[in-house]
């Protein structure tokens, strides 16, 4: 049975080397930090070490490719993962409900999964494999998808519910992704939240999105939209959220704006 972490961790941001000095200067304003799992495998820089030893961390992977039906998880990846997840102040780790690698080719994008029972079972088995090796909680994140894979047989919501139930893991709910999908695929995001197994939601992601050629795109380059913050408020009324990460990967020049956003979100979540 999935057991949620006990404590409220707070609100943090994702690590980017471009803003490492700002992060170190502002550690008192950041409750925890999300680090790309694969980066931590090899990055030996002093500044990253400083952050990972002084702040609680959560690890967020990009390359597990849980949705690749024909491929298993690489053994050396599992070894590296165990080392970094084993760090004392690592709270939990996560990856995406997506495919990022097919036939040994990295796609460098999150390809949506085929929403079928078979793929859900494959993903769940891979998650179970991870959870056997690492005792920290594992969370799965919903992605932004611009198209649905051919041959899908159920909705994204049913698909997520099915995997987390089978794998018995947690959910990292990216509310920005949810909002984008609800606009691009025209559904009600509040209804999505109502029907999600909320007892499994541990962490929330927020980020900015922008219109590019009439499509709402997950850019991580601007402030979180008010519509997304409203969804966060709605979720907060329903459940206790353990941690919120504001993701920003582009236009990082105004760090204070990011810190203002952290403060604003803290008010909503606490």
């Amino acid at each position: 049975m999935f057991i949620k972490p006990n404590d409220y961790v707070g609100v943090g941001i994702n690590y980017r080397s471009e803003i490492v000095d700002d992060i170190i200067k502002n550690m008192h304003r950041i409750d925890f930090i999300e680090i790309n799992t694969e980066k931590l495998f090899y990055d030996t820089s002093d500044k990253l070490q400083t952050i990972t030893t002084r702040l609680p961390i959560v690890l967020h992977g990009l390359t597990l490719s849980l949705g690749s039906v024909a491929e298993t998880i690489n053994e050396s990846y599992l070894d590296n993962l165990s080392k970094v997840v084993g760090k004392e102040n690592c709270l939990w780790y996560s990856d995406h409900i997506a495919t990022t690698r097919i036939n040994n080719v990295d796609l460098r994008t999150l390809m949506p999964s085929t929403f079928t029972q078979e793929v859900a079972a494959t993903m769940a088995n891979k998650v179970k494999q991870l959870m056997k090796i690492n005792t920290k909680p594992f969370l799965l994140e919903n992605i932004t998808y611009y198209f649905s894979m051919p041959d899908s047989q159920c909705s994204e919501l049913e698909f997520i519910a099915h995997i987390v139930e089978m794998a018995d893991c947690g959910i990292l709910l990216d509310i920005n992704n949810l909002y984008i999908n609800s606009i691009n695929h025209q559904y009600d995001p509040y209804n999505f939240i109502d029907r999600l197994p909320l007892d499994r939601v541990v962490e929330v992601h927020l980020a900015g999105c922008d219109y590019i050629n009439n499509v709402l795109v997950d850019t991580h380059a601007s402030r979180t939209k008010n519509e997304v913050l409203h969804l966060l408020q709605y979720l907060r009324k329903k459940i206790k959220i353990h941690g919120v990460i504001i993701e920003r990967d582009d236009r990082l020049d105004n760090f204070n704006e990011l810190m203002d956003e952290v403060a604003l979100v803290k008010e909503i979540v606490q």
């Binding site: 495998f41 820089s45 024909a70 796609l107 611009y146 051919p150």
Partner: protein, 307 residues
């Protein structure tokens, strides 16, 4: 969908042998390997050029992939309804790769200019075959794209490209945490001489450049017009390496003193041996020798490690 192997034909052959006719299965199984929808869509997702080609002519799918009939129908239906969404995703992904490239190659960006680079980039993207993978990281991609550009460039452009390729190749260099944790953090003193050894930074690569190429790089940084008047044809050896403490890629001019030290070291050497060699061959005092080693250690070109 799993890749499927289907035995399509098992041939039974009547053998004529003196003892009468028997049937036996001969070893002529014909095995068909089907591609999956996931494989096909993943190939398309990384090549927007090919999505456009398929939109114009769906038969290209059949020429490049072996799909089961049911999958072919599903894919044709998907293309009728969702081809634009697939194209948008692929283009967004390529745009992201382009932006990532721009962050990797400072001098090439400034020297060639965005417009010219973007033209090369478009050519580069269309040079991929349908089933060809893309480089796995932005830095690998930078190397690939720069090599593509190199073929179309003049001698001076080639040198600037070579500089960027060398830097980008090093980004992917990984130090082992165990290796790094044993590196001394402070300067060496007299008492360290017999208890420490020197390691060459394992990422160090030395390349020969014309002095005027380096002057040009400096000019690019200072936004000075790129004139080659009075160019200096002398060669200079430049060391490229990854700083294990910052993760950044650094360069250092390899002068005769550094070169000599690197020869003495041969990757790894006892500290006292090096100091002795510097004293014997260069007549350097202990102080001068340790200052020199401390400087290179500080710069992360060599590592001082406790034995």
């Amino acid at each position: 969908m799993k890749t499927c192997y289907v035995i399509t034909l098992a041939v039974l052959e009547r053998r004529n042998n003196p003892g009468g006719g028997v049937f036996r299965v001969i070893n002529k199984y014909m095995i068909t390997k089907y591609d999956t929808l996931q494989q096909v869509v993943s190939c398309l997702l990384i090549h927007s050029t090919w999505i456009k080609k398929i939109i114009a002519n769906f038969d290209l799918i059949e020429r490049n992939f072996n799909l089961r009939d049911t999958d072919k129908i599903a894919l044709r239906e998907f293309f009728k309804i969702d081809h634009e969404k697939l194209l948008i995703h692929a283009q967004l992904s390529e745009e992201k790769r382009w932006r990532e490239f721009l962050t990797t190659s400072h001098y090439v960006k400034l020297f060639f200019g965005i417009d010219k680079l973007k033209r090369y980039w478009t050519e580069y993207l269309t040079s991929f075959h349908f089933k060809e993978g893309i480089p796995s990281t932005p830095f690998n991609e930078a190397v690939c794209f720069l090599e593509f550009m190199e073929k179309k460039s003049n001698a001076l452009e080639k040198k600037i490209i070579e500089y960027e390729i060398t830097k980008n190749r090093l980004v992917g260099f990984n130090f082992y945490h165990d290796q790094i944790s044993s590196i001394k953090r402070y300067k060496i003193a007299m008492e360290d001489v017999f208890s420490h050894e020197l390691f060459l930074n394992p990422s160090l690569v030395i390349k020969k450049f014309k002095l005027h190429t380096l002057q040009l790089l400096k000019n690019i940084d200072l936004s000075i017009a790129q004139s080659l008047e009075g160019k200096n044809d002398n060669n200079i050896y430049l060391g490229f390496y990854k700083n294990c403490r910052t993760g950044s890629i650094k360069t250092i001019a390899i002068n005769k003193h550094i070169l000599k030290l690197l020869i003495y070291m041969k990757n790894k050497q006892q500290l006292y041996v090096i100091l002795q060699l510097l004293e014997d061959n260069k007549k350097w005092s202990f102080q001068k020798g340790t200052d020199f080693i401390n400087y290179l250690h500080q710069e992360n070109v060599i590592f001082i490690v406790k034995k």
